[in-house]
Subunit: 283 residues, 4 copies
């Protein structure tokens, strides 16, 4: 349960997935949870991170993942797919699919990725966003379902004071944790936030820009959850681009074959041998 | 058009994709077409290559791809998702999504991957399969839509004579090309097939097992289309497994960052900067 | 729970629905359960009752219904959407959507409606079908989930002996109930079946052809569940055809308005006034 | 083509559908076009008319309809499913499904039905809405695709002047027609609008509240298209409620059977007999 990761004493790291097989890879690597990233789902579908994927499409991905892995999934819910009413639909449908955690951010639907044109992105009214959090908490049926409230205050050019004010308001509204997002190249903003935070809720961060931070620092600052938010997608893109180029040039296919997963590994990952009576014929 | 690739004089190579971004990578690498693989779509969704993805799910992927790329897509239609009637629904829905080529194989629904337990897989009755091909051709609205008929005769342990007989029957039934599939480690079976083939239709092959073949040989044998059927998926799995392990060990994240695509490249691929007024803020 | 309807002592009647609003109407009329008919879902989507709707499409309908009603839904699972493996996927996905009962029939995928060309429809091998039932029972996570096994023996021209043999085999395989289907204009076949049945499992019938049967007879025969299988769809078609014709002729629209639901009733049914702060403005 | 209905000289009436079979009934009654209503799709799915259905869900309905009927479909696009970017996705996907007309309204996403709490609903900024219209026109590939711009000015309590100003702006932005919506019990507002309109674009109206208007008046006023916006859904609800009650009371099922469509009519509508070799066995 993401809930447990938020509440245990140590700092937990979770890794991004964008489909069932990447989720399985996250689990097999040893991570205790999965970040189901909106950016990477969008990118893998060839669309922008502006809510171009419909709720139906992302929920289909969610179900494929929760049927595949045993570790918990934290769903990147963007702004909640509309108003409080849509967020309630989302919460119910996530629970149906055994996804027991969602993160929503205080921007307006349709959102834009935090690292694009960020100064121009408007924040949702604090009260309206608190109402959205409450609406989500009101309709959850499973008590371990958790809602993480992410503030984009610093991303959109706001002050630390406002970030803290919003984070408190979100925790008061019932958020199970707050996520403080920063676009700085170092962890300084998060550090300041943590020094001023009253620990009324666990804190989550996403070191996409400040990944060079010493890993020990996250726990020293008291962060509960650290999200590596897009790395498997980026790993796959890099590798696919290299292999596609080599295949196109077609110099030495067997050499390419040595740098990609075997067919047998594909079969293992997809559970091909779990089906009754099936035996592999490939080496 | 896949149709044109089948009819021009040279041997064309196309590469597998399993989602929109991998399709885009195929296009950007220079390939003239995309093989939308059933194996790799299934594997990326964490399910077996046994028609566990519904027709709705694969059609959603198709649309995301054809909206993204300009090169033609050859859809791996397995056995046609049921009988002739379902194949007709499939053809109409592929055309709606601007996917103008489908490959179907002469096995029974639900199929199993060709390289798993292959001897036990039964072939469809020849006449029934010819009827399915005709049904597809009957209902296409776009004259350039093409249907490739794939025989699994050799895969399932049948004789070359039957493979040739079936291939002829399929061409007579209206198939725009035939695909001769082989699980041998060398191209010998395909070579024999080509030496006996009367050229009544273009021939396609899938050198998954015999990828070490000298690339020039495909054209010497007179093959029209060669499909690299699963390499981008395998490239992505290999890279994601390596990166997930490194991230879990968290020794040197910046070093990992140098071996994966940049965030900016993700944005470029998904068209983030095509949206009005957006300017990148990231390096 | 359908499970409880099968096990309580009385004969329960449930009524067909094909979407969420018809399901709600079934509940509001007082019925203790809903038959989510494959025929009527197909017909409302304009397709044949031959598995033309994908599993994704019907599961989407299921979720819309279970989110709307409080009475249990018995899902018409046709042949289970493929082999035992697909049936297992179906069971898991029905449970995800809080649909805790499915009925599957012993025909081959893709099926044809029982009342069309019935003599030509082949039955599934008994052992294979029992294996499918077991596979479903094996993978259910909720103990109250129930699987009803429907035999089409009499529909396809088989003998009463075979129908009984199959029904016993299905009950032995773990089916929570058996459904004996008959296309006769009277209940005689079902009557014979019940007189020979050893009560090893509850029995369900579908009096589409013998709806003129005295209602008391169902309980006298010891039937546990009687399914009115398609009546709301048929009611809606008849009414829509009449109203469409009147509207086209456009003689007296206000008179038409008196014979259709008010706009306010539409709003009530869809819960328009449940949303915060909304007050009706219409009479 | 809806385009042609807008441009021919007479006043055309089209009728609401909410799924493929109701669309077929509209066609069979003689209407030249279909209004694919957001209200009635929502209500049939048991959800509110507040964009609770995802774009994926409504597009699936669109495809089922355009595969079934030959008359054109005017899709009720609400506010365009987000901003101009989402509207562009919608236009492309409608074209893919051979739906060549969409109507969008000048409210904010997520919208609320026009007849609920209407005074509180805010209008979109005129310039932003014009930009959305242009964005849609820019990306259509089929020249006969048409976009109807609907103003909710009068619905939300605005003045006639603003309604006219907006309608002109929308026509100037490229809208193929404007829809003037009124919640009055008589046609007076539409009458006033038409008397002041400079005919720079065809005008559409929706007499849900003023259905008692003399049918001849629509053409006298110069309206191009009149939409009966929800009558088949309402007809079906009324009939289903009556039949459900009768079935529950189970007094006289054969009498009910005479007031609903026959099973054979269901089969005819769904094309059951179009499939090869099928002969009806039912009377």
């Amino acid at each position: 349960m993401i809930n447990e990761l938020l509440r245990n004493k140590k700092t937990n790291f979770i890794l991004e997935a964008h489909n069932a097989v990447s989720a399985q890879i996250v689990e097999e690597a040893g991570f205790p949870g999965i970040w189901l990233s909106s950016l990477s789902m969008s990118a893998s579908w060839g669309v922008r991170d502006n809510n171009e994927l419909s709720m139906s499409q992302v929920l289909d991905i969610v179900e494929s993942i929760t049927q595949k892995v045993t570790i918990p999934v934290l769903f990147d819910g963007d702004t909640g797919y509309g108003d409080y009413n849509h967020f309630q639909q989302l919460v119910k449908k996530l629970e149906n699919r055994n996804c027991m955690a969602v993160c929503i951010e205080d921007k307006l639907f349709p959102k834009t990725n935090s690292f694009i044109n960020s100064e121009k992105q408007k924040l949702e009214n604090t009260e309206v966003f608190c109402d959205k959090i409450k609406a989500g908490k009101d309709c959850q049926r499973n008590e371990s379902f958790c809602i993480i409230a992410r503030t984009e205050t610093l991303i959109s050019g706001g002050e630390m004071d406002e970030a803290l004010h919003r984070a408190h308001a979100y925790a008061d509204a019932g958020a199970d944790a707050v996520l403080i997002h920063s676009k700085k190249d170092d962890i300084s903003e998060v550090q300041t936030f943590m020094s001023l935070w009253d620990k009324s809720a666990p804190v989550v961060c996403v070191p996409t820009k400040y990944s060079a931070t010493n890993p020990d620092l996250y726990s020293e600052l008291g962060l509960s959850l650290v999200i590596w938010a897009n790395h498997l997608l980026r790993a796959s893109l890099y590798a696919m681009q290299k292999v596609a180029t080599k295949m196109y040039e077609a110099i030495d296919i067997p050499e390419v074959e040595r740098q990609i997963a075997s067919l047998d590994e594909v079969f293992r990952l997809q559970g091909a041998y779990d089906i009754r009576n099936e035996q592999p014929i490939t080496k």
